[in-house]
Subunit: 335 residues, 2 copies
DNA sequence: GTGAAAGCGCTAACAG
DNA sequence: CTGTTAGCGCTTTCAC
């Protein structure tokens, strides 16, 4: 029962009086083995506490059964849940998550080295800005990649995205109902692909809607930056009619700052919208009007896409865009 | 440059005009190779895009360089940050995180099977209830484990814990300042080790403090359960003077429910304390008095402990208890 | 300091 | 259906 050395398939084979390959077969699903052999092997294996060595299997099958997931250490409130979904859904497909946390863009090269040596079957990128040159490296190494909520301009890539344009349009339609005279756009950091996309879309749509007075500020996605940006803005400017935040967390910061230090009433004095639909956006004290990303479906799409490309390396790159749901909170002025 | 097949150390050796083992030496840190050989090898390797195969190395060294981290899919607001820290700090020690998400206790056996086959160097358990019998399995397989914020009664184990007792005592001391007549203890779910510990400690300390009127309700750590529990309580009971919540999220729910549906003013009509010190506990709308867990130090301790036991499998089990910091918010009545 | 040779534990043809 | 036989790509003695 309690062995000192690791027990191998040879040990089990000897004990069960069969060949080593018989043992191997028993432990591989879908291979035909006689019931008699199977019983003998299982008895011996259980008695000895044998477990197949996945490393050895990886070496020969050239499939590690692991998917690298790249996340950012910068806390985007969204990723934990995405990560949890990814892990769960991959587990259901018999794959494991090898986690890579990215501190800053510099770490990317190191990280790539790791990914190559670990022979992962595929990669899901929840973070990081990918130049098309980086993508080319994956192609060279023949490792399928799926980008989650990020686009690489001018490159073919597998991507799964929330429909930012459609979402932001809905938000602006909500805001427009009360005919705001001016807009403040509170963008996420300039080194975030998602933030840049959301900001540019907002600006371009506002232009289409004929909004004249539009200003932009940059935060870093955090609560505090939401507060700081609004405070700083109000030092020299009147209260904006409408604030479009690149994520919910900053929207919450904006709301707290408005109420706390400036006696601004939401939504009567100022409308605020966010994006993401994080849990706390629905909390009674905030009730933000926002777009809820279809997390589960996004992840599902990403994983399907990845597995498809693992099994069929030559299938062409694909992009899927899923639509978020407008959550009508209580942060937008109504007529 | 662009090869179709994976390039191996043999390919590089041939190209560089050296033996395969020379190539191996060049890619293993700390082995003496002449500069000349090293140059030849590196030139060839770079030209061919060679990367050592970590899987093959694992097979022979019996060290996978991977640490299994067990997390719960049930969103505890704390874990994402812990996980991020774990990943970062392990990366610094040249180890990778293999992520396992646990849905419910049933999945534990399956999960263990996975862990054995993947030959991980160690395990960090952020979730799951571990019977001492489970721990014995790890011992059998000679895989070091560190339990994060959970204890296994009656078993020797490596554990890293926040000092719940000391933390809750501080919270009660805060609450006692206004001499509450009665207490409501809002516990986390019964299947959570941490929740059980926090609840029992709170009850036992309240007894010591001479509190007579103490009631217990069970939530599931979520915002909504905080709201629901308070609402349900108030149906048949008067407003409690003090509410001790097992985590911040429920405390936030309690506060929102009190203000929203019952016109209870916090902290004048009712004091509320939480536990964890999550980001949102400091948001202006809540400002919860709570205990902030020393996340970074907890993780650091856990990882040091794990690495120590990986390098030195016979070192004795160890427990480290770290003290959290009292955050004085604005949710406790002052005199 | 270098090369030859022997595996690590398993899978995958291939005969029987 | 079962056993035999080659490896997977690397690390690690051991002579030289």
């Amino acid at each position: 029962m309690t062995r000192n050395k690791k027990v191998t398939s040879y040990d089990v084979a000897r004990e069960a009086g069969v060949s080593q390959s018989a043992v191997s077969r028993v432990f591989r699903p879908g291979l035909s083995v006689s019931q008699k052999t199977r019983d003998k092997v299982m008895t011996a294996a259980n008695a000895m506490g044998y477990r197949p060595n996945a490393i050895a299997r990886m070496l020969i099958t050239k499939q590690s059964g692991m998917v690298a997931v790249i996340v950012s250490s910068r806390a985007n409130v969204n990723y934990p849940e995405v990560l949890s979904q990814v892990s769960k859904q991959l587990a259901a497909r018999n794959k494991r998550v090898l986690l890579f946390t990215l501190d800053d863009a510099e770490g990317l090269d190191d990280l790539f080295e790791q990914i190559w040596t670990f022979q992962v079957d595929g990669v899901i990128a929840l973070a990081a800005h990918f130049e098309s040159e980086k993508l080319a490296q994956f192609e060279q190494h023949k490792i399928p990649v799926v980008l989650y909520n990020r686009n690489v301009p001018g490159a073919m890539a597998n991507t799964v995205c929330c429909n930012h344009e459609q979402g932001i349009k809905q938000l602006i339609l909500e805001l427009e109902q009360s005919n705001p005279k001016n807009y403040l756009v509170l963008s996420g950091p300039k080194d975030s692909d998602v933030a840049n996309e959301r900001r540019e879309i907002a600006l371009s749509l506002l232009k289409q809607f004929g909004a004249k007075d539009v200003s932009v500020l940059f935060g870093d996605y955090s609560y505090q930056s939401g507060r700081d940006c609004l405070a700083q803005w109000l030092e020299k400017n009147p209260t904006p009619d409408a604030v479009i935040c690149s994520n919910d967390t900053m929207a919450i910061g904006v709301i707290d700052e408005a109420r706390d230090n400036h006696n601004i009433h939401i939504p009567n004095d100022m409308s605020v919208v966010g994006f993401d639909g994080i849990t706390s956006s629905a909390w009674k004290s905030y009730q933000i009007t926002t777009i809820k990303q279809p997390l589960e479906q996004l992840v599902k799409a990403a994983i399907e896409m990845l597995l498809e490309h693992i099994e069929n390396p030559d299938s062409p790159p694909e992009s899927r865009v899923l639509t978020g749901a407008l959550i009508k909170g209580n942060s937008v002025k109504r007529i």
